[in-house]
C-alpha cells in the first residue's frame, strides 16, 4: 500500500506567514478534500504534495522516502495529478492524450503496446469519452476536456491521485459519476486527494477534510469532525444554512442581510 505523507509541511506562498505546519498522510481508502476560499493555497498545496514545488519547510514522503530524492519518473509511476489548467497548443486526439498517461511506464525506445491501448480505452470508457477517441482535443467542450484529464490520470494506474477541482466544468450527472468513480478507486487501493470548491460534494464523497484558511492556518481530520457549521462559515466568511435530507448534510449559502 502506497502512502504519501507530509511532515511539518509549510507550503511556500510568498508574503504569507507560516501558519499551521501540516502533518497528514494519504493512503488507499482515503478521499481527502481540501476546502478553502480563493487564494487560500489549495493548488499550491496540491502541487507541493506532488513534488512540483518546493515547500518552505518540512518534508513529503512517498512510502518513507523523500519525494525530492526520487526520480520524477519513479514518482509518476505511483502518483498522478489532474491539473486545473491545461495547455493544448499542439492538440492530439483524445486517444493519444489518454495514452500519454502510460509515459512513465515506457522506456525511451518503447512504443505503446496493445495493453497500453487497452488501458487508455478503458479509462476513456469510464469517463464516457469512448465515442470521441479520434476527435482532436481542441474540439472538445470544457467538461469533456476535464473528463479527459481525469481519464489520462486513471490511465496512469496511480496508487495516489491528486486532483485540483476535478468537478470543474462538469454537469451534475458527470459530477456524480466522477466522484463515484473516485470513490470506487479509493476502495480499490488508491489514495485520493482533492481540492474542491463544492462543499456538498466534499461532504458527500470525502472521508477526510482539510480546511485551509487564507492566513495559512489549517485544521484537518475525519469528515464528521470537520463539518461544523461555524467552522465552515468562518472559513468562507459566508453565513450558511445546514439542511439535513435523507441523512445527507447540505450546506446552502444564505443571502446577505441587506441586499442592494
Amino acid at each position: 500500500m502506497t502512502t504519501l505523507s507530509a511532515h511539518q509541511l509549510v507550503i511556500d506562498i510568498p508574503g504569507r506567514s507560516d501558519g499551521t505546519a501540516l502533518n497528514l498522510s494519504v493512503q488507499a481508502g482515503d478521499i481527502w478534500g481540501v476546502l478553502g476560499p480563493n487564494g487560500a493555497g489549495k493548488t499550491t498545496l496540491l502541487h507541493t504534495l506532488a513534488g512540483l514545488r518546493q515547500p518552505r519547510s518540512g518534508e513529503i514522503h512517498l512510502d518513507g522516502r523523500n519525494i525530492h530524492q526520487l526520480r520524477r519518473k519513479q514518482l509518476a509511476q505511483s502518483l498522478a495529478v489532474v491539473f486545473q489548467e491545461r495547455q493544448d497548443g499542439f492538440p492530439g486526439t483524445v486517444l493519444e492524450t489518454a495514452m500519454i498517461g502510460r509515459h512513465p511506464f515506457l522506456a525511451p525506445w518503447d512504443v505503446e503496446t496493445a495493453s497500453d491501448l487497452l488501458l487508455a480505452r478503458q479509462s476513456l470508457d469510464l469517463l464516457e469519452l469512448a465515442h470521441l477517441e479520434q476527435r482532436l482535443v481542441s474540439t472538445l467542450s470544457g467538461g469533456e476536456r476535464q473528463r479527459l484529464a481525469i481519464a489520462t490520470a486513471l490511465c496512469q494506474t496511480p496508487s495516489l491521485l491528486l486532483a485540483d477541482e476535478p468537478s470543474n466544468h462538469l454537469d451534475l450527472h458527470h459530477q456524480v459519476q466522477v466522484m463515484e468513480l473516485l470513490q470506487r478507486r479509493a476502495r480499490n487501493d488508491c489514495g485520493i486527494f482533492l481540492c474542491l470548491h463544492d462543499l456538498n460534494l466534499a461532504a458527500r464523497y470525502c472521508n477526510r477534510l482539510l480546511l485551509l484558511y487564507p492566513d495559512g492556518r489549517a485544521c484537518w481530520g475525519a469528515k464528521e469532525d470537520m463539518l461544523s457549521l461555524s467552522a465552515l462559515e468562518a472559513l468562507y466568511r459566508q453565513p450558511l444554512t445546514l439542511i439535513e435530507h435523507d441523512g445527507q448534510q447540505l450546506f446552502v449559502p444564505r443571502a446577505s442581510e441587506s441586499p442592494r
Binding site: 502541487h47 506532488a50 512540483l52 526520480r71 520524477r72 519518473k73 519513479q74 514518482l75 509518476a76 509511476q77 502518483l79 498522478a80 495529478v81 491539473f83 489548467e85 491545461r86 495547455q87 493544448d88 497548443g89 499542439f90 492538440p91 492530439g92 486526439t93 486517444l95 493519444e96 492524450t97 495514452m99 500519454i100 498517461g101 509515459h103 512513465p104 515506457l106 525511451p108 525506445w109 512504443v111 505503446e112 503496446t113 496493445a114 497500453d116 491501448l117 487497452l118 496512469q156
Partner: protein, 334 residues
Amino acid sequence: MHAAESITHTGVFRRGPLPLLLLLALALSSLLLAIRVGSVTMSSSDIWAALTGSGSSLHQTLIMDLRLPRALAAFATGGLLAVAGALMQVLLRNPLADPYILGLSSGAAVGALMAMIFGLGAALVSGSAFIGAVVSATLVFSLANGRGSWTPTRLLLTGVIISSGWSALVTFMLAVGPTDKLPGMLYWLMGDLAYSRSPWPALTVLLAICLLLMPLGRSLNVLARGPLQAAALGVPVKQMEWGIYIIASILTAFAVTTAGSIGFVGLIIPHMLRLVLGNDQRIILPAAALAGGSLLTLADTLARTIIAPQQLPAGVITAMIGVPTFLYLLRRSQ
C-alpha cells in the same frame, strides 16, 4: 489478431510509416531533379554514369563538384531549419516560433556581414556567422535565465529584443558598408546557397541529431502539454528544455552557416506537417527533416534556373512556394 488490429491505431502506427516513405520519395526526387537541371540538362543515364564515376569529365565535374554538393547543402539546410523550428515550437509552446525567433540568425548575420565588410573569404564568413549565432544563443539564454528559471514568455521576449538589437547593427552595416559588397550582403541576408561549401558538416549534424531525437519523441509530446503536466508524468522538464534549446541552436547555427538566413522553412514546414499528420513529434521530427530538405532543394533549383544565367536567393523562392501552400492547408483544415 485483435491485438494486431488495435496496435495499428496507436500513435506512431495510426497512419503507418506511409507518410515518411512518401516524404523520402519526395526527398530523393527533389535531389535528382536538382542535379539534373541547370545550364546543361542531363539525361538519367548521364547522371548515373557521373555518379558511378564513368561519365565524361564535364558531366563528372558538373555533378560531383557543383550540383550534387549544392543540392545536398540545400537539403541539409532545409532539414536543419525545419527540425529546429519544430523543436522551438514545442519548447516555447508557441506555434509562431521559428528557428530564428531567439535571435540566432540575426546574430549570425552580424558575424557574416562583418566578415564580408572586411573582405574575408567564404570560409571565414561561414565561421564568423557560426560564432555570431552561438554568441547570440548564449546571450539570450543567459539573460532570460535570471534566478535559475525561465518561462517561454521571458525567453521569447529576450530573444525578440536581442534580435532587434542585432538587426539594427545589420542595418548600420548595410548603410556604411562598401557599395561593391552590398549585393553579396543582401543575398546572404535573404539566404543563398551560392556561399555553401562542403555539405557534409550540415548533413552529418542533421542525421546525428535526428537519431538523437528519436528516443525523445514521446517526451516531447508530453512536454508540449506544459511543464507541470510533463513533470507530473515523469519528464525531467528542466533538462529536457535545456537540451532542446541547445539542440535547436546547434541545428540553426549550422543552417545559417551553410546558407545564410533562409526564411519560412523553419516556420512553415512543421506547421504544414502538423496540419496533415497530427501532433506526434515522433513522426513530425523525421518528417520535418525530409520535407524541409525537399522544399529547400526544390527552391534552390528554381532559384538558379528560373531566370538563368542570373541566380535568385533561395529564400525568395521558399517564401513564394511556402506562403500559398501554407495558406491553402490552413484553409482546408478548418
